[in-house]
């Protein structure tokens, strides 16, 4: 059977002008209704539309672009460190510069790249996958993005002054206390983290409510794509975990500026309280930055294996289980702090146990490849490599769950290798694969498969050359976060290899950015469903119209576009050509939380400058706190208050009910 998928595999051969998938979108757009809906849903022209857009697709793409900018910045910081470490006794960087670089590298990659990039995919994909026209709170969505940009700028504000955060991404006290670190460095960290936390919480609440209420009729829980499960789990975790780090940062800021004794030991404070609060946030967070990425693999890898995911229910349950257990393992970051043995044993056991749900996903991916009809596309290469890198990073993780081994390995390069295998392996490799997979949907154009193989080769080879030898360096005893090492320690050659690998990896990322740009300008047209995917986002045109679905679909199975192949005769099919039309204004459908029954017509807000204004108003508020200028903070607080009142002002009273417009 020749499908669009098979033709897509011959991309290099096909005519560069002809769309890969020349068929019309599976979701019907009635001609008159299409124009009417476009008028209603399109952003206003000009700057107002640019700054005021609440379209989840534009916001999603902005998230992706911004996160890639931070990836590049964090990457350059990493390369600077690798040049410093390429040979023994190097003095290119001073110890203080090195401290700031590894701190900002960690903060940037973990907070400003890894999470936001996944928010970008989820923002873009959720309504399209769920069969809705937007997220539950479009203005909140825009707010979450603008807050992310503002907080990112805030965290970098002191970088050019040479006073960036310099106590690592987890900012341990007492090293970060006013006594040992009197500059503005740590205050920027504390306030910046609280600032960014608002963005994350706001975004998480939006995802949770969207999942509960903004689905197509029939999109029941057992039909959700796994990325939705992943982002949902991550969002619930963020709601419950972010306050811990915000509180810890507030306490530290108090300790540093108001003389309190939360962590400061002379007045009865406890430095370990910082670690407890930070890691009870930090460990759920590391799952929040991998679970949606694992969801990406679970959804997109099967498309390139031309079969449904093996073990859907198990993978969905494993996703949730990982997070539940993930809230009970934070102490494994504190094995070496002298805690009671009973507590350590419990957390060691939980850390071993968490390997089980992770392994479920790995085995279902392997089984999907094994039993599928694989096409070796660039997305496939990236997703398959995720499995390998996840297993390597997972095994080194299980090793350090053992107390005895952890005491040997903690604070060495072994840990650096482990965390990069899991974070780059599961997050970045999945993300680059996902860009190759969904770029055609977002832009209507294919990325080059030929260049993509070079990108993959450089990234995969460079990554392993850079990080595999770090395990060895760690076993030799090379400590992390030390700016240089002596020539007699025997680390020199291995470090040079690591640096060469890091640069190869960076060249691969650079080529990837160039390839995206070229494809955006001159890629081959994609058509609605170039990979022959099964989920709803492939049923609309590429790029999708501003209203997503002219007719809200009615869902009958997990794979609406594969039903002709998968369903038995007589089973009900999804209906993409008849249903709710809702063209009486900017409307979409809300459903009941569990069963997905039509429940309410939601009038959606149009463009609004309030989200941008609120983000801008928070800059003087946090700036006032940082500079201890009460008037500046006061202006910011007042502006925030006024904007919030405007935000929640009662809308024009509408009819309390309405007869829905339908098609068919």
């Amino acid at each position: 059977m020749s499908t669009t998928f098979d033709r897509a595999a011959g991309l290099a051969r096909g005519s560069p002008q002809e769309p890969v998938d020349a068929s019309p979108p599976a979701s019907l757009v009635p001609p008159a209704a299409g124009d009417k809906l476009k008028d209603i849903w399109e952003d206003s022209p000009g700057l107002r539309g640019w700054f005021g857009t609440v379209d989840h697709k534009r916001i999603g793409i902005r998230y992706l672009i911004t996160a890639f900018v931070f990836l590049a910045i964090g990457g350059i910081e990493a390369l600077a460190m690798r040049v410093q470490l390429a040979q023994a006794d190097n003095h290119l960087l001073s110890p203080e510069q090195y401290n700031q670089l590894f701190s900002m590298h960690g903060v940037t990659m973990i907070f400003l790249y890894a999470m936001p990039i996944l928010s970008g995919f989820s923002n873009y994909l959720w309504p399209l996958m769920l069969g809705s026209r937007d997220m539950a709170f479009p203005r909140l969505n825009a707010l979450s993005f603008w807050l992310y940009v503002a907080a990112g700028l805030f965290l970098y504000v002191s970088f050019p002054l040479g006073a960036a955060p310099n106590d690592g991404w987890f900012n341990y006290v007492p090293n970060g206390s006013a006594e040992f670190d009197p500059g503005p460095n740590i205050d920027v960290y504390c306030l910046g983290m609280i600032f960014l936390g608002i963005s994350t919480v706001v975004g998480a609440a939006n995802f949770v409510v969207t999942l509960l209420r903004m689905r197509a009729p029939g999109m029941s829980l057992n039909r959700l794509p796994i990325i939705v499960w992943g982002t949902l789990t991550a969002s619930v975790a963020n709601l419950l975990a972010i306050p811990a780090v915000s509180l810890a940062c507030l306490m530290l800021w108090f300790d540093r500026n108001l003389g309190t004794h939360f962590f400061e030991i002379s007045g009865g404070g406890q430095p370990l309280l910082w670690q407890h609060l930070f890691w009870s946030f930090g460990h759920p967070w590391v799952y929040a930055v991998v679970l949606p990425a694992m969801g990406i693999v679970s959804d997109a890898l099967p498309v390139h294996c031309r079969r449904p995911l093996v073990g859907y229910t198990l993978v969905a349950m494993a996703t949730v289980t990982t997070m539940v257990v993930g809230f009970g393992v934070w102490l494994h970051h504190m094995f070496a702090t002298g805690l009671p043995a009973l507590a350590l044993s419990f957390f060691s056991a939980a850390s071993f146990a968490i390997a089980i749900p992770s392994a479920i996903s790995v085995f279902s991916w392997i089984a999907t490849i094994w039993t599928g009809r694989v096409r070796i596309t660039v997305p496939f290469l990236f997703f398959a490599s995720v499995i390998l890198l996840f297993v390597i990073g997972g095994v080194s993780g299980v090793m350090t769950a053992s107390l005895a081994l952890d005491w040997e390995l903690t604070d060495t390069y072994f840990i650096v290798a482990h965390l990069h295998y899991v974070l780059i392996g599961i997050n970045l490799f999945a993300v680059v694969g996902a860009i190759y997979h969904w770029f055609p949907k977002m832009t209507g154009r294919m990325m080059s498969e030929r260049v993509g193989r070079w990108v993959f080769g450089l990234m995969f080879g460079g990554f392993n050359l850079a990080f595999l030898p770090m395990h060895w360096l760690g076993l030799l005893g090379m400590p992390r976060r030390v700016y240089t090492y002596g020539p007699d320690m025997g680390f020199g050659v291995t470090n040079l290899i690591v640096t060469i690998g890091a640069f190869l990896f960076a060249v691969g990322i650079g080529l990837f950015f160039v390839s995206m740009l070229v494809a955006r300008l001159a890629g081959r047209p994609a058509g609605p469903n170039p990979w022959d995917g099964p989920s709803l986002e492939w049923s609309v045109s590429s790029p999708p119209p501003p209203y997503n679905f002219a007719v809200i679909p009615l869902i009958a199975s997990r794979h609406p576009l594969w039903e002709s192949r998968l369903l038995e005769k007589g089973e009900p099919h999804s209906r993409l050509a008849e249903g709710y039309l809702l063209d009486e204004g900017k409307e979409t459908l809300g459903v009941t939380p569990l069963d997905g029954e039509p429940d309410v017509i939601l009038k959606m807000p149009g463009d609004s400058l309030l989200p941008l204004a609120l983000s801008v108003a928070l800059l003087p508020l946090f700036g006032g706190l940082l500079l201890e200028l009460a008037w500046l903070g006061g202006i910011g607080a007042l502006a925030v208050l006024v904007i919030l009142i405007l935000w929640f002002r009662p809308h024009e009273a509408t009819r309390s009910e309405e007869k829905a417009r339908v098609y068919g």
Binding site: I242, P243, Q270, H276, D583, D599, I601, L641, A660
Partner: protein
């Protein structure tokens, strides 16, 4: 031949209470702020358990002001609910009256808390106990302030005739948040005033 048509049955627009999306958004806000207090109370317990000697200077804090303040705050939850239900029943005058009463009770709580703070023999930067005491009660007080602000704005909108029968959701959500602020106080009260009496 398929064509566009208007359905015979009607669906609610926006929806009130659990049918609307804002109610679920408020639930998320309450969840995340509720857990903030869990971490605060955890920090209190952690600092108390790790302290050498007595954690609370001068023995358990007196209940003379805290008990009346608690009664004021909890009864304000009742009046807030009363105001919401009166508005739902169409009696806007009574609703505004009950809303005003809620504000009085809420500000009463703030004043009593302020008096209690000013009478403390220690300052914020004196010890781990003073730090967590002021942070825990202060965070709660900030939430009371936010709730009062929302109630004031609601009262102004009500008097200006801007919230109508179709805006039941505004009342529902402000009342829900106020209930949350009051319920959290029970846990803060138990931590600060009752737990030192138990150990």
């Amino acid at each position: 031949m398929a064509r566009a048509a208007t359905a015979s049955t009607a669906l609610p627009v926006h929806g009130q209470g659990v049918v609307g999306t804002p109610w679920w958004g408020m639930l998320c806000l309450i969840a995340t702020e509720g857990i903030l207090f869990v971490y605060l109370i955890f920090s209190y317990g952690y600092l108390a358990s790790q302290s050498r000697g007595s954690f609370v200077p001068g023995g358990p804090p007196a209940l003379g002001l805290a008990l009346p303040a608690t009664i004021l705050l909890l009864s304000s939850s009742g009046t807030a609910e009363w105001s919401k239900r009166a508005a739902r029943g169409g009696n806007l005058g009574l609703s505004r009256l009950a809303l005003g009463l809620t504000l009085l009770l809420g500000f009463g709580f703030v004043i009593l808390s302020g008096v209690e703070w000013s009478k403390k023999p220690f300052a914020l930067h004196d010890s781990a106990y003073s730090s967590i005491y002021f942070l825990l009660t202060g965070t709660h007080l900030a939430h009371v302030f936010a709730g009062l602000l929302a109630l004031v704005v609601l009262l102004i909108w009500s008097l200006a005739g801007r919230v109508h029968a179709g805006h039941d959701q505004h009342r529902t959500l402000v009342t829900l948040y106020w209930h949350f602020v009051d319920a959290v106080w029970v846990f803060v009260f138990a931590t600060v005033y009752l737990s030192p009496r138990l150990v």
